[in-house]
């Protein structure tokens, strides 16, 4: 089977879907780049090259470079989604949701309900999340908990290239607005990705490690750290379930509860700040629905309640590390 990076998997999926369905358009800042300039066309292909080559095949009518006006073009994409197009719009960094949040939560997310179920909004908003490259406070936030709290939105955040393809296909073909969050540290992560189409249903978590002794729940980049911790624990004969939620709206409660009912020990790892995070959400679900299965207090490892710091030494402390996660796991196992 071919090996592909997340960047390649997303790029290929966009291309294949645009070939299949002429109503799909890609909209965003520098999704091609070079518009109106004297240099080359497709000068950017997205700031991290994820949409490279699309404009060459589909032209500027379907790969639309916008001015830097997120509220305007996200709103435009929402209006287009209600009227016959299936836009895949790129919000370069999820932090920029601040300038266009009204278009997302007040317009896009509420249309179907406000209109009594008589509309569909097949809109995908792709955006980049996460710390780790010194991009500092306004280009590094994990905002999936905020977005997952909005009724009407679905939120997917893949941790590997296989899931990136399957989740993006589902997102594009879904008739509801989907926020698709790509962690900037993961673009070059590679794995086997089939060439043919496959859909990964939303609300279906994946077990990336299996074991009965403890349940580790996470998503996006933190899945990699949890896998590492599980492998470290395995050397001591401790076996962990690692659950990659893959979507945080909807949430696969069943997978989490089933695992906790066996292990009795739960550690949730989230790169978002702790307050109102997915860690607190999963913790609440398990406390309500599987309290009697718990043999130790629920543990959480998250980012602190601070903006993302710039300097590498502090940024490293901000993101939950393998060491912190392993330490929390061992404490939970001993409790």
């Amino acid at each position: 089977m071919p090996i592909k990076s997340i960047r390649q998997a997303i790029n290929e999926t966009l291309k294949n879907e645009m070939r299949r369905d002429s109503t799909i358009v890609v909209i965003g800042e520098d999704v091609a780049g070079g518009a109106g300039s004297d240099g080359i066309d497709d000068a950017a292909g997205g700031v991290f090259g994820v949409t490279k080559g699309l404009v060459g095949e589909f032209g500027r009518e379907r790969v639309i470079d916008t001015p830097i006006t997120e509220a305007g073009f996200i709103g435009m994409a929402a209006g287009a989604a209600c009227t016959g197009l299936r836009p895949v719009v790129e919000l370069m960094f999820v932090d920029f949701i601040g300038v266009c949040f009204d278009q997302v939560f007040n317009q896009t997310a509420k249309f179907r309900y406000m209109f009594g179920g008589k509309s569909e909004t097949p809109l995908v908003i792709r955006s980049m999340v996460g710390a780790g490259i010194g991009a500092a406070a306004q280009h590094s936030h994990m905002l999936h908990p905020l977005l997952a709290s909005v009724p009407g939105l679905k939120v997917a955040l893949p941790s590997n290239a296989y899931d990136a393809k399957g989740l993006l296909l589902t997102a594009i073909r879904d008739n509801d607005p989907v926020i698709f969050l790509e962690h900037k540290l993961l673009y070059d992560m590679k794995c086997e990705v089939p060439d043919e189409d496959y859909l990964i249903p939303f609300g279906q978590a994946a077990f990336t490690r299996e074991g009965d002794d403890i349940t580790l729940v996470s998503m996006s980049n933190m899945v990699l750290n949890c896998n590492q911790v599980a492998d470290n624990l395995a050397k001591d004969g401790i076996n962990a379930d690692v659950i990659d939620l893959r979507t945080v709206s909807p949430i696969d409660e069943g997978a989490v509860l089933e695992s906790v009912e066996v292990s009795g020990r739960l550690l949730i790892v989230d790169e978002a700040s702790e307050r109102c995070s997915m860690a607190s959400e999963i913790s609440s679900i398990v406390a309500e629905k599987a309290f009697k299965s718990l043999r130790a207090p629920i543990a959480k490892v998250t980012a602190p309640h601070t903006p993302v710091p710039f300097t590498p030494t502090l940024e490293k402390l901000y993101v939950p590390s393998v060491e912190r996660i392993e330490q929390a796991a061992r404490m939970t196992l001993e409790a």
């Binding site: 109503t23 358009v25 009518e61 379907r62 639309i64 916008t66 001015p67 006006t69 509220a71 305007g72 073009f73 996200i74 709103g75 435009m76 994409a77 929402a78 209006g79 287009a80 989604a81 209600c82 009227t83 016959g84 197009l85 009204d102 278009q103 007040n106 317009q107 249309f111 179907r112 309900y113 406000m114 209109f115 009594g116 179920g117 008589k118 509309s119 569909e120 009724p151 009407g152 679905k154 879904d174 008739n175 509801d176 939303f202 609300g203 909807p250």
Partner: protein, 322 residues
């Protein structure tokens, strides 16, 4: 674009429908038959009508919080609208939207919008659909003088020019954004001039004059349909009522209200012109009024006797699947 008798009758019918609908909504609201709060469009009928008469069912309109008039002019069902405003299950949006979110996508109505400056981004999106799909449809957004100051509106105008979208920015300057005068809040005092600054043809028209609105929008729609890109129109209008029904309107000057009703009533101005120039007979207008009064009576009766949405409706329509 000479208007035939049937067009003039249609224009009058739409304007009379809006006026009578709003007046009845006011009454029903005062009697406690309408929950929430309501923004009355009375006085601005010539703008919605003059604009929407150029649009087909497949063209799209984005509206404001003061959206009943736009909905009626775009062809939304009167009974469905009344039931919606009353919160009943037979409403256009099954009672889940209400006055500020009345929508009927199948009728090209993208919705009243309770966020000021909400319509232009959505309307340019509909224009992007039309352009990309090659349908020759156009979109038109209504924005008030208050909304004209919003960033989303500026961004939309710029995007529409950059992408050459088939859309019309229709600004209704009724002199007040909520309780504050437009001459205070619109920095340049010139909404059309600001639009022109974005690089599109922009005009100011007398919004009390149906014919002036009709001609200006006709030209803009023609330009959009033939690939000539966006236009903007600023129509000066008069809001008969307050910001919302029940607004004490302390910001009005002495005699302003009476003067407006007496001298600045777009329907009176229209009627006087079509009768004096022998385009229509008074009897024709009267019979339209009667017919509409009956329709609205029925809409209210049916609305009041329609069931409230069932408890299960609370949870439906959030997603198409979840």
């Amino acid at each position: 674009m000479a208007l035939q008798e049937k067009d003039l009758l249609r224009a009058y019918r739409l304007m009379s429908t809006i006026r009578q609908f709003e007046s009845r909504v006011d009454t029903e609201f005062q009697q406690g038959n309408i929950p929430g709060f309501v923004h009355d469009y009375s006085g601005q009928e010539a703008v919605a009508t003059g604009a929407c008469m150029h649009l087909t069912k497949d063209d799209y309109v984005g509206s404001t919080h003061r959206g009943h008039g736009h909905c009626i002019a775009k062809g939304c069902d009167i009974k469905g609208m009344m039931a919606e405003i009353m919160g009943r299950s037979t409403g256009l949006c099954r009672g889940k939207g209400g006055s500020m979110h009345i929508a009927d996508i199948n009728q090209g109505m993208l919705g009243a919008n309770a966020i000021v400056g909400g319509a232009p981004p959505l309307a340019i999106g509909a224009a992007l659909s039309a352009k990309t799909l090659g349908t020759k449809n156009v979109s038109l957004s209504f924005t008030g003088d208050g909304g004209s100051n919003q960033g989303t509106v500026f961004e939309s105008m710029n995007l529409a020019v950059v992408l050459q979208l088939p859309t019309i920015f229709m600004f209704e300057n009724n002199g007040y954004g909520e309780h504050t005068a437009a001459k205070y809040a619109v920095g340049s005092g010139d909404i059309a001039g600001r639009a022109a600054g974005f690089g599109m043809p922009a005009k100011r028209v007398d919004g009390l004059d149906f014919f002036a609105v009709y001609d200006a929008v006709g030209e803009a729609v023609e330009r959009a349909r033939s690939g000539g890109g966006p236009s903007a129109i600023e129509a000066s209008a008069v809001r008969f009522g307050g910001h919302f029904i029940g607004d004490p309107q302390l910001y009005r000057g002495e005699g302003e209200h009476e003067r407006n009703r007496r001298d600045n009533d777009c329907i009176k101005i229209f009627s006087k012109k079509v009768i004096s120039e022998k385009m229509l007979k008074k009897s024709q207008l009267n019979s339209v009024d009667k017919e509409i009064a009956q329709l609205i009576d029925t809409a209210v009766e049916e609305g009041l006797s329609a069931p409230w949405p069932s408890a299960e409706e609370l949870l439906t329509d959030v997603y198409s699947n979840y």
